[in-house]
């Protein structure tokens, strides 16, 4: 029952990963007791479960995920929202308004209009129905300030870091508020534009170097150096 890869080896779709008593994890599939990769990514084996960490993927909705989306259309009793996934999401009017929704009294485009960005949670989703969003929790709703950036969704866990170590480092060093949409959209809000730019540069760096070890330390160093540089420029 061998495996046919080294840890963190780059594999392509269709590559044979293991044979025999193994389980197919993420981005893999099993056929005839053999496990193959189904996406380009880095293979690893965790207690008989073979996984591939995808280097390129798109967001697949899951109930309970916090996502950042763009309103694309105002409908009769809700909005359609682009959440950068194969399916467009729906946000119901009765969920946004705290009172019952009456079409004759409420003008939906005054609450949210096309092009508005929202932070929302996925309330329901299954194969047969498009995902439904909810904004009825603290921290969710329309975005009024800050900057948006996009990364490959499969890299969001790396931006968070082990037990949130990476993201809290960036928050601490830059003083920015950061909301990570699991669909790969990130909202950065800081006191000044420079703070936001610094946080975004750090996240960009994480995305580019996501599969190396000791990244948290390097990001801390990077942030401190950049901050010092910017101080110097100011003083000159």
């Amino acid at each position: 029952m061998p495996t046919f890869f080294e840890n963190k080896q780059l594999v392509t779709p269709g590559e044979l990963l293991a044979e025999g008593d193994y389980l197919a994890g993420t981005n893999t599939y099993a056929e005839d007791n053999k496990i193959y990769a189904s996406r380009i990514g880095l293979a690893d084996c965790d207690n008989k479960r073979v996984n591939v960490v995808a280097l390129k993927a798109f967001y697949y909705p899951k109930i309970g995920d916090v996502v950042i989306g763009t309103v694309i259309e105002v409908g009769f009793n809700g909005w359609t929202v682009d959440i950068k996934s194969p399916y467009t999401a729906l946000l119901r009017a009765s969920d946004v308004l705290s009172r019952p929704f009456k079409p004759q009294n409420d003008e939906l485009s005054q609450v949210l209009n096309g092009g508005d960005l929202i932070v929302a949670k996925i309330a329901s989703y299954d194969r047969a129905h498009d995902p439904q969003l909810t904004v009825g929790e603290p921290g969710l709703g329309k975005i009024t300030r800050g900057q948006i950036m996009k990364v490959t969704p499969s890299k969001i866990p790396r931006v968070i870091g082990r037990k949130g170590s990476m993201i809290s480092t960036i928050k601490q060093e830059t003083g920015c508020q950061i909301i990570l949409g699991l669909n790969g959209v990130i909202l950065v809000t800081g006191k000044t534009l420079e703070d936001e730019d610094l946080a975004m540069a750090a996240i960009k760096k994480i995305e580019e170097e996501s599969h190396t070890s000791g990244l948290t330390d390097r990001i801390t160093k990077f942030l401190k150096e950049e901050k010092a540089k910017r101080e110097e420029n100011k003083n000159e």
Binding site: L10, G14, N27, K56, P86, E209
Partner: protein, 247 residues
């Protein structure tokens, strides 16, 4: 080149472009060169130059074409007006519509269409320069574009043709051999699963000759497959190497 050559294979067994009977044309593949597409690939297969771009999975438009239980794969094979010697009308011809269908059907078995119901994936194939065997090169590039878009796949699909010219079975026919020769057998293949996804034959072959051509084409596919994997890895390897230098 417009004149019909008398002999396609000389006394030494060399073909018009100097190749041996079982030799491939030089191939160059690049992945991820179009930033507006979700995935893309470019292939130079001899004198063929082909671009492939993949979009999706995304909501299907028009909506009534979507299927409730699976993803729909759409393909558009198109030849640029300047891709051949005589200007080709940019409107889709009978041949292009047929090739679109054939390419779609050869890619479909490799994609996990049942994972994303009600969605659609679009593959656009643009032939910039044609020199025989474009459908095969197009399949090779399109499959890479799909993999680059992050769409889950069983295997990469790779294609190669074999045929018969001057009573000899040869690999990877180019334009003149294709037109003047006796037969052409394009084959698309998934090497890891050992499955043929496209098999056509144009012309006449004896059963033994057909078998020989098929095996030859599959052998060619295996060779291209290695280049295909290499091209895909190169795009994602670049990031990795930069880091190693830094550390």
């Amino acid at each position: 080149m417009n004149e019909k050559p008398e002999k396609l294979i000389d006394k030494k067994g060399c073909r018009l472009d100097g190749r041996k009977a079982d030799e491939l044309r030089p191939i160059k593949i690049e992945v991820g060169i179009l930033s507006n597409a979700d995935g893309s690939a470019y292939i130079e297969h001899g004198k063929n130059k082909i671009l492939a771009a993949a979009f999706g999975p995304r909501e299907m438009h028009p909506k009534h074409l979507s299927l409730p239980d699976r993803m729909v794969l759409r393909c558009r094979y198109h030849m640029a007006p300047f891709s051949v010697q005589e200007r080709k009308s940019p409107a889709p011809s009978r041949r292009e519509i047929e090739l679109s269908k054939v390419i779609r059907e050869s890619l479909e078995p490799s994609v996990f269409v049942e994972y994303y119901p009600r969605t659609g994936v679009d593959v656009f194939i643009e032939v910039l320069q044609a020199d025989g065997g474009t459908r095969c090169a197009a399949i090779t590039a399109a499959s890479l574009a799909l993999a680059d878009a992050g769409i889950p796949m069983r295997d990469l699909v790779v294609a190669c043709a074999a045929g018969k010219v001057d009573d000899t079975v040869v690999l990877d026919l180019f334009d003149t051999e294709d037109k003047v020769g006796t037969a052409d057998v394009p084959v698309a293949f998934m090497p890891n699963l050992n499955a043929v996804t496209l098999l056509q034959m144009d012309g006449n072959l004896a059963p033994e000759e057909f078998e020989k051509a098929l095996n030859m084409a599959i052998e060619g596919c295996r060779k291209i497959y290695e280049m295909q994997k290499e091209a895909l890895k190169t795009k994602y390897m670049l990031v990795k190497q930069e880091e190693e230098v830094e550390e």
